[in-house]
């Protein structure tokens, strides 16, 4: 039992004291980072207020390209959010012991970034003041309503899934620090770490880890349905559900690697985010890389072979037309670079996985962009004016602002809560080493006494020469 502090003074946590450092001490670097981020956010707020006053005319959108950056951001950010909950849940269920230090940092990404995914849809609305019409007049026939439901469920579950494993750590903060005592006492929900509390908590966490997986898969499937349910060329595709989910996990792992590298560097957590973690996540990223490539090839080959004119118009726009730069950059950044780096042990270092992850995130943004925009750029009917979409300063500022706000919220989280789960690390030290030994033994066949007539020297009986 790791944190059983009943009445007696809490035992010191000197081994993991470094994890409380970011919460207890704040340096100039923090204020500098926060002010830079706030400046970017302030500019984005100004950009949005311009759009709010003048209408969506301040964007680069027009007929027929009705959707652009905002919808791309929406798909991209919700994709990133698959980092946390899904990866953490899978690792927990599989009992991957190396997860202990990284699950928290992954789960935080989910909850924080999902807000900006939703935020971008709201920014994209022509009449945000009428948002409540979705409740008053909601029509469940529209895939947008499906999204409202699935994202709400996902956000709620991810928040709970982040909060539950936080409770013992909040109790540590309550007992060991003088900072905001009332705040931590409230959030700790009277946690004392009794065996019963521990049992209940671990039970809930393992149940949630299982439920949250289908929820996460459904969220990105439903997002792909927004496109796939229309009859627009290269959107109307049954592969879109799994294609989006794979892309989401792909970019999610990449985002997690970047976040972990930053935390490791800023808070000197080399002991917690080891080379092993980056190596393992790098291998997961490599696997997703091939999965993503498989889906991309399936999607484009089916279109090409079918050779339907409306679809081919979009196809050629991507392969050799106005979106060729985006497309081929995507192929290089999503496949060539990460495979080159991650498939060799020599380059699968921390720096290597971080470079591959940055590359994947750029590529996945481009992927979302060339899913959204080209299908709209070439409508089925000939068109009087040919519009080439290019985002304006407003759209660029809002993208930068959302990214900055996400980073800011992440930074603030690390200043209020431990970004590495203290109790899970302690539990790993105190309990799991013995548990894993036991578990490993249970995987292996029991040594049995030999039945009569069989030599007790198995090698000899099988005719193996001594």
């Amino acid at each position: 039992m790791s944190v059983a502090f009943q009445k007696q003074p809490p035992p010191p946590i000197k081994e993991d004291a470094i994890l409380l450092e970011p919460i207890l001490h704040t340096g100039g670097r923090f204020y500098f980072t926060v002010s830079v981020l706030l400046a970017i956010i302030a500019f984005a707020v100004f950009a949005y207020s311009t759009q709010f006053r003048k209408g969506l005319g301040v964007t680069g959108l027009g007929r027929p390209v009705y959707w652009g950056f905002y919808i791309t951001n929406f798909v991209f950010f919700i994709g990133i959010s698959h980092a946390g909950t899904l990866i953490s849940a899978v690792l927990r269920i599989l009992g991957a012991e190396w997860r202990r230090t990284i699950t928290r940092s992954a789960e935080v990404i989910t909850v924080m970034v999902i807000l900006f995914g939703v935020g971008n849809v709201l920014i994209d609305l022509g009449r945000p003041d009428r948002l409540m019409n979705i409740i008053y007049h909601g029509r469940f026939q529209s895939p947008l309503l499906w999204d409202v439901c699935s994202i709400t469920v996902y956000l709620t579950m991810s928040t709970a899934y982040l909060y539950l494993p936080l409770i013992p750590d909040i109790a540590i903060l309550r007992d060991h620090t003088n900072k905001w005592h009332w705040f931590y006492r409230m959030l700790a929900l009277g946690w004392t770490g009794t065996p019963r509390q521990m049992r209940v908590l671990e039970r809930i966490i393992s149940v949630m880890a299982i439920i949250v997986i289908p929820v996460a898969v459904s969220v990105h499937t439903v997002i792909s349905f927004i496109f796939a349910m229309t009859i627009q060329p290269m959107w109307h595709s049954a592969i879109f559900g799994p294609y989006f989910v794979v892309g989401a996990i792909f970019s999610g792992i990449a985002a997690l690697i970047c976040a972990m590298a930053l935390i490791r560097w800023v808070y000197h957590l080399d002991e917690y985010f080891k080379k092993l973690h980056f190596n393992n996540l790098g291998l997961m990223l490599l696997a997703m890389c091939f999965a993503w490539f498989y889906f991309t090839v399936s999607e484009f080959l089916t279109t090409f072979y079918g050779n339907e004119p409306a679809h081919m118009a979009i196809f050629w726009m991507k392969i050799s037309g106005p979106f060729a730069t985006h497309f081929w950059t995507m192929v290089v950044t999503c496949f060539v670079i990460p495979v080159a780096i991650l498939s060799r042990k020599r380059t699968r270092t921390i720096a290597g996985t971080v470079i591959a992850s940055i590359s994947v995130n750029i590529g996945m943004y481009l992927e979302r962009f060339i899913i959204v925009v080209p299908s709209l750029s070439q409508p089925r009917l000939p068109h009087a004016s040919s519009v080439t979409y290019s985002p304006t300063w407003v759209e660029w500022s809002i993208l930068a602002g959302c990214t900055a706000a996400f980073i800011l919220m992440y930074v603030l989280f690390t200043k209020v809560f431990p970004i590495v789960s203290i109790w899970e690390v302690q539990e790993g030290r105190e309990k799991s080493i013995a548990e894993v030994t036991e578990r490993l033994k249970s995987y292996l066949p029991e040594p049995q006494s030999a039945p009569p007539g069989v030599s007790t020297r198995p090698l000899e009986s099988m005719g193996v020469a001594q």
């Binding site: 969506l56 009705y66 009449r127 019409n133 007049h137 009859i231 009087a384």
Partner: protein, 228 residues
């Protein structure tokens, strides 16, 4: 119950664009100017769509096709609207509730005919055009989607008149502005549910076809092929 529909005889159409202009005046479509039009922000509920011409320069036979909203019987735009701001009514008209639309532009991306328009900015009319607005049609605010309504307000007016005189609606009493303005009578409008109406007879022509018919949207605007 009437099913309103239209036929457009391309043998008769001279591409004079009277229908385009009549629609803009009738439905208070704001003029956007050439710069905004180049960015895809012009309003043309009735639009002339250019098809690839035949022949070589300078003797090219350009083909222009007048394209209103097709008021599909299976409208892809209506399906996707999250708030029911666009709907297919019993008489086959695909309407738009400007005051309910949240401006998500899902319908505009779902329409395979790109027949829907969005108010990117607050609509403005140069003086004195702003004083000549049609009082029967509401001016749309910024941020909502709009489209051809088959001049639905004309149906309401015609029905009010008929009701005042205590008689049923007569054929030809309700006609959209585009049809009324056509100098060559290329467009015929009326009740498709009535097999004896002029539009039904016209729609039974061997030359009749619908645009992108294979999509299964069942447009109620039917073209009569050029030739013979």
């Amino acid at each position: 119950m009437a099913k309103w529909g239209m036929t457009i005889d391309l043998d008769r159409c001279t591409a004079c664009q009277a229908c385009v202009t009549a629609c803009q005046a009738e439905n208070n479509l704001p003029p956007t100017g050439p710069e905004e039009a180049d960015r895809g922000r012009s309003f043309t509920w009735m639009e002339m769509i250019p098809f690839a011409g035949e022949g070589e320069h300078p003797k090219v036979l350009e083909r222009l096709l007048p394209r209103p909203c097709f008021h599909c019987e299976n409208p892809p735009c209506v399906k996707v609207c999250p708030v029911g701001a666009t709907f297919l009514n019993e008489e086959g008209i695909v309407g738009q509730i400007f005051s309910r639309c949240i401006g998500c532009r899902y319908c505009t991306t779902a329409c395979p005919y790109t027949a829907r328009y969005f108010n990117w900015t607050k609509p403005q009319w140069p003086e004195p055009m702003g004083k000549a607005l049609d009082p029967d049609v509401s001016v749309r605010p910024k941020g909502v989607v709009e489209k051809c309504t088959f001049c639905h307000h004309r149906l309401q007016n015609a029905r009010d008149n008929a009701r005042a005189e205590n008689r049923p609606l007569k054929p030809g009493e309700y006609t959209p502005a585009c049809v009324e303005s056509c100098p060559t009578k290329a467009m015929v409008f009326g009740d498709m549910a009535d097999p004896n109406s002029e539009v039904s007879k016209s729609a039974n022509s061997r030359r009749a076809y619908r645009l992108l018919e294979d999509l299964g949207t069942k447009p109620k605007v039917i073209y009569l092929r050029e030739g013979d």
